[in-house]
Structures are given as structure tokens and as C-alpha cells.
């Protein structure tokens, strides 16, 4: 177990800045996710942490010691790659035990350890198979086993689920979380799937174009996103955003088109233009509010997402259970003021006004 600190990390490929001045401190035993869209520098950051790639500038500290000059192995980190990177000519047993064999550990010690790890990952039946004779999920577990057996102080995962089908992803996600609870090893996990990040992490680092946009708990990034970008990136369905203005008539309102949403008296009115973000769970469809036409009905099991035309845009509501609403029907829309998130229209940062 270890702490990890990234201090003013920069990475340039020629003129292109892939990672821009990132600062991040990961506590002992923490599970941190690097979240962001494709190309935002997640893998680059992870590779620099692993020592597979040099930093252009900045310092990496593990357990308080600078490790910039150390190779991947000396940093005592283990990594699980997106495509597993199993050694194709080695059996499952040899793949998992490779690091121990390199260190010339005694044969029976290697065997014992490999067997323990394999049992934990339910791989003991496949010990003598080659990677290509395994399913994707099994290969994935071998890759994890190869990392686990090293008993590293930090685990690094680079989108380890992206080659798995949806059901297996969910299962493996649970297994990784259990593994982390059991071993308690500091882990950095890269993904572009916000739901994965929310469900796994102690804290999430949201990246955008090589910059750190927000670093916080899943609750932070979901309920208190630092910016429009984070708000849009996190949560299903995507947050709806409207332009509007404050109106003080008959009590304070936030006016979006013809709809005025009442605000509490304690509300602090800013002196800049603001946009407002609305999450689906704060939108109620029923008998109060403005008449709106239903556009789209998407059942997802426990909920149905109903998208309606509203004030020159669209807003999506979350309805419990299966809804029998139909497109083109008319319904009234009400917004819960508690759920509004306000963003500075220019800087796109969220403002704490309530």
C-alpha cells in the first residue's frame, strides 16, 4: 500500500500537450478513477505513473519519495492493460508466475503463490492453457492475476473492461471492487465509462484535454460538478442545460422561456449571466406546470426516461417503473428548484448560489 502524488505533471508529444499541469494526490488504499473521453490523456498519465513513459516536466512521488528516475519495476506498481498483454507463448500458470521466475524465486514458492492467486480468480482449471485458448473474461482474470501475484503497492488499470461484453463487464467490475476491498491496495483505474467510475471509485479525477477538471468523490462529481463539462459527462441520462435569467416578481424566479422556477429567499443572485442544469430525477411529469409535447420514451427497466419539448429545448424526466406515455401526447412539466445547478455562462464553472 502506498500514497501516490502527481505534482505539476506535463507531457508533450512534439508540440502537442497531452497532459497539462496535473496535480493529484492519492491516499493509501484509495481507489481512484481517471475519467474522460477518448484522447484526453488518461493512458498517458497512467503510463507515466507506471514509468513506461517519461514525464516532460513534473514530479511523481510514491510513498513520499520521488520516483521519476525509477523504472516500472522499481516503482513497485503493477498494471493491467486494455488488451491484457498476456504473453502468448506462455500458459496461464507461466503468465502469472513470470515475475517470480524472473526474480529466481524457488520453484515450490512460485507454484504455491501461483496456485493461490489462480484459485482466488477461479483460474485453477485453466493452468496449462495458452491465452488464446481462453475466453476474454478468463484472459482478463489472468492479467489481473499477473498483477496481483506481485503484491505491488499500487495497481494501475488501463480500461481493463473495454474488450468484454456488457454482462461480463458488470461481473468483472464487481470482482475488481471486491478484490480492492480484500487487498486494500491503492488503485488507479482508467475508464471513459462514467457509470463504471461512479460505481468503483473512492474518488474520481475527471480529465478534459489533458487537464484535471475535477477531483472528488462520486457524490461530488455527480451532485456538485465543478463545471458544465463534468455535469454533462457524468450521469445518465445526460444533464439538460438551459439559458435563463433571474426575475423578481411575485418572489424570486429563474425564468427559462415562459417557465419561471421559484427560488428560495436565501438565494444569492450573481452578477454574471448563468445557465442552469437540470437532472432527470428533478423533473416531474404530471398535472402541474407547463404543457409540453412528449418526444421520446425510453424504458430502461426500473425507470423510464421521457424526453419532452420544453421552452425551446428538450428536458428529460425520470419516471419510476414502466411508463405508458406515448410520443406526441401532451403532459405538464414541473421542475424541482432544489435540483437546479447553476453555471457561469462564460467560464462554465458551477456557482454555489443556494
Amino acid at each position: 500500500m502506498a500514497t501516490l502524488e502527481l505534482i505539476n505533471i506535463n507531457k508533450k508529444f512534439g508540440d502537442f500537450t497531452a497532459v497539462n499541469d496535473i496535480n493529484l494526490r492519492v491516499e493509501e488504499g484509495e481507489f481512484v478513477t481517471l475519467l474522460g473521453p477518448s484522447g484526453c490523456g488518461k493512458s498517458t498519465l497512467l503510463n507515466m505513473t507506471a514509468g513506461l513513459e517519461d514525464v516532460t516536466s513534473g514530479e511523481i512521488h510514491i510513498n513520499g519519495e520521488k520516483v521519476n528516475h525509477l523504472g516500472p519495476f522499481e516503482r513497485d506498481v503493477a498494471m493491467v492493460f486494455q488488451n491484457y498483454a498476456l504473453y502468448p507463448h506462455m500458459t496461464v500458470e507461466e503468465n502469472i508466475g513470470f515475475s517470480l521466475r524472473l526474480r529466481k524465486r524457488p520453484k515450490n514458492e512460485i507454484q504455491d503463490k501461483v496456485r493461490k492467486v489462480a484459485e482466488m480468480l477461479e483460474l485453477d482449471k485453466f493452468m496449462h492453457r495458452l491465452p488464446r485458448e481462453l475466453s476474454g473474461g478468463q484472459q482478463q482474470r489472468v492479467a489481473i492475476g499477473r498483477a496481483v501475484i506481485r503484491e505491488p503497492s499500487i495497481f494501475l488499470f488501463d480500461e481493463p473492461f473495454s474488450n468484454l461484453d456488457a454482462a461480463l463487464r458488470l461481473k468483472t467490475r464487481g470482482e475488481i471492487k471486491e478484490l480492492h476491498q480484500r487487498l486494500g491496495v491503492t488503485s488507479i483505474f482508467v475508464t471513459h465509462d462514467q457509470e463504471e467510475a461512479l460505481s468503483l471509485s473512492d474518488r474520481i479525477a475527471v480529465l478534459r484535454l489533458g487537464q484535471l477538471e475535477q477531483f472528488g468523490t462520486p457524490e461530488d462529481v455527480y451532485s456538485r460538478p465543478a463545471s458544465k463539462y463534468v455535469a454533462r459527462f457524468i450521469g445518465t441520462p445526460q444533464m439538460d442545460i438551459f439559458a435563463g435569467s433571474f426575475v423578481n416578481a411575485d418572489g424570486l424566479h429563474f425564468q427559462i422561456g415562459e417557465a419561471g422556477i421559484p427560488l428560495p429567499v436565501s438565494f444569492k443572485i450573481p452578477d454574471t449571466a448563468v445557465d442552469v442544469g437540470i437532472r432527470a430525477e428533478f423533473v416531474t411529469l404530471g398535472s402541474k406546470g407547463f404543457d409540453s409535447a412528449i418526444r421520446l420514451v425510453q424504458p430502461v427497466g426500473p425507470f423510464t426516461y421521457v424526453t419532452v419539448d420544453w421552452q425551446g429545448g428538450c428536458v428529460t424526466a425520470r419516471v419510476n417503473g414502466v411508463s405508458h406515455m406515448k410520443p406526441k401526447e401532451t403532459i405538464k412539466v414541473e421542475i424541482d428548484p432544489e435540483g437546479l445547478l447553476f453555471f457561469d455562462r462564460i467560464t462554465e464553472k458551477r456557482m454555489d448560489l443556494q
Partner: protein
């Protein structure tokens, strides 16, 4: 079902017509000579008056092989030649390929330069080396004298073992580029993430080479060894140009012997018998080659 079967049969028959011309050509240029050479090896062929006379000779030509010292010596020399050539070419080609795969060697310039020996016509290559080795005017003697390595000119092609080894040098020089490119392609097929994984597992450069690089080019190695063995067994032009088998038949290898018995000594049946021995050797190598190229079948059961 009836109609699809009918349709497939028609397709199949039409397909046969399409491949027929190619098969016909192959039969003429490949199968016929092989068959003819096999038949010839059981005959005694003599020049009588205006034409040739053929006479059944049983296995006598093959019995001769066992009886004649020259064949046994040529066989031994061919084996020596092949082993040395294969080992030297593979080792040198691996080194060249590793250099070309290094970031500093990636420039296309090196690959073009590398191909020059391979692109030379075989006889041109042989003539080139004949001049290099020339005892009086050859650049090899001049260079070595200039460096002070030798005082007297050496007659490179004048001493039995020396001559054979000098032919080997010329042959290796010509063969390395192709094998190096084969191995280079093999090296470039090894995904870089395997090296990353190995570094994380604590492998140093040498361990990465042993555990990732070598297994990654194993198939390429097998293919190279087979191709190079065939190449070495059939060497002819170099011997023909450089030594014609001299001195004292010390550079007579199997293929050259076969040619000489057939076309110089006009012992056509015997020459054919030698050629067939060579053919059998190469056929075995070719089978290994085909096995190596066949994609591996995934095994259904693990241990």
C-alpha cells in the same frame, strides 16, 4: 436442398475448369521433370551414333552413390556447407534485424542499402567475388596487406578448405539481407505492449529478449532455417564461377556434382540419381516449412 446441392456441384465443376490451365502448366514444368529425373535415375543412358540409347539399370545408379568416394565427400561437404551457412546467416541476419528495428535504424535508407546484395543477379554476385578474391589484383589481398594483416598474397581459391569457406562467405553475404528482412518483419509483429508488460514484471533488456523477442520470432526462425538450408543445398552458380569444383574437387557439392556427372561426364542416369537425393532432402525441408507456416489450431482441451 436439392437445388443448393445442384448449384454447389455446378460451382465446383466450373471451378475445376478455372484451375485446370494452371494445373496443366504446373504439371508440365514441375511434375514432368521430377518424374523424368526419377525415371532417368533407373536407366543407363548412352550416346550411340546419332542418338541416345536407354537401358534399364535397376538400382545400380543408387548403388554407385554408395560406392563412389566423391559422392560421399560431396554429401559431407554439402552438409558442412549447409550447417555453417544456416548458422552464420541466421545469427548475422538476427543482428542486422535487431539493428534495423532499433529506433536509430528505422530509416528506410538502411533497408534499401541492405537489399543490394540480395537484388544482385547470382552470377553477377559470383563474378564480383571472383574479383574480390583474385590472388594478384583482388581487393581482399590488397586490403589485408594495407592493414598489415598479411605479408604475402593469399590464393583464396587455391586451397581446399579455404576455397570452400571463401565460397561460403560470398554466399552468406548474399543471403543475409533477405533473412534479415524476414526476421525484421517478425520483430515488428511483436506487439509493444508485451515489452511494457515484461518491464512491469521486472524483466531487464536481456530477459525481454529471451522471453518476449525470441519466442515472438520462433516461427520466423523455423522458416528462415528451412529456406536457408534449401538455398545452401542447391548452391551452384558460385561454385561454377569461382572454382568449378577445384582445387582437387574440394569445392564439389551435391548440386554441382549432379550437374557435372550429367553434362560433363554425360553419365545422365547417375547425375539424375544424385539430383534425386537432393530432391528428397529438399522435399523434407519443404514439408517442415509448410508445417511451420500452417496456422496453429487452437486446442479444445487444456491440461
Amino acid at each position: 436442398m436439392q437445388t443448393t446441392n445442384e448449384y454447389n456441384r455446378k460451382r465446383y465443376r466450373l471451378g475445376l475448369w478455372f484451375v485446370a490451365p494452371a494445373v496443366f502448366v504446373l504439371l508440365i514444368v514441375l511434375a514432368y521433370p521430377i518424374f523424368a529425373s526419377l525415371v532417368l535415375s533407373f536407366l543407363r543412358v548412352r550416346f550411340a551414333g546419332q542418338g541416345l540409347s536407354f537401358e534399364f539399370n535397376g538400382l545400380n545408379n543408387y548403388a554407385d552413390l554408395l560406392r563412389k568416394d566423391l559422392f560421399r565427400e560431396a554429401l559431407f561437404r554439402s552438409v558442412y556447407y549447409t550447417v555453417i551457412e544456416v548458422v552464420s546467416v541466421i545469427v548475422l541476419a538476427l543482428l542486422v534485424a535487431l539493428m534495423l528495428n532499433h529506433p536509430l535504424g528505422r530509416s528506410a535508407f538502411y533497408r534499401v542499402v541492405l537489399l543490394v546484395p540480395w537484388a544482385l543477379a547470382p552470377v553477377a554476385n559470383a563474378v564480383l567475388w571472383k574479383w574480390i578474391y583474385n590472388a594478384n589484383y583482388g581487393i581482399l589481398n590488397q586490403a589485408l596487406r594495407g592493414l598489415g594483416a598479411i605479408e604475402e598474397n593469399i590464393i583464396w581459391l587455391g586451397k581446399p578448405w579455404l576455397a570452400l569457406n571463401m565460397i561460403l562467405v560470398a554466399d552468406i553475404w548474399k543471403a543475409v539481407p533477405f533473412i534479415a528482412l524476414l526476421i525484421l518483419a517478425g520483430l515488428q509483429n511483436i506487439p509493444s505492449y508485451l515489452y511494457k508488460a515484461a518491464r512491469l514484471d521486472g524483466a531487464n533488456a536481456w530477459q525481454q529478449f529471451v522471453h518476449i523477442t525470441l519466442p515472438g520470432i520462433k516461427t520466423t526462425f523455423v522458416i528462415s532455417i528451412v529456406l536457408q538450408s534449401i538455398w545452401a543445398l542447391k548452391v551452384f552458380d558460385l561454385i561454377y564461377v569461382l572454382t568449378k569444383g577445384s582445387p582437387a574437387d574440394s569445392t564439389v557439392l551435391l548440386n554441382y556434382l549432379s550437374w557435372r556427372e550429367t553434362f560433363s561426364n554425360l553419365d545422365i542416369g547417375y547425375g539424375a540419381a544424385i539430383a534425386n537425393v537432393l530432391f528428397a532432402l529438399m522435399l523434407m525441408l519443404a514439408l517442415v516449412y509448410i508445417r511451420a507456416l500452417r496456422p496453429r489450431q487452437p486446442q479444445a482441451q487444456g491440461g
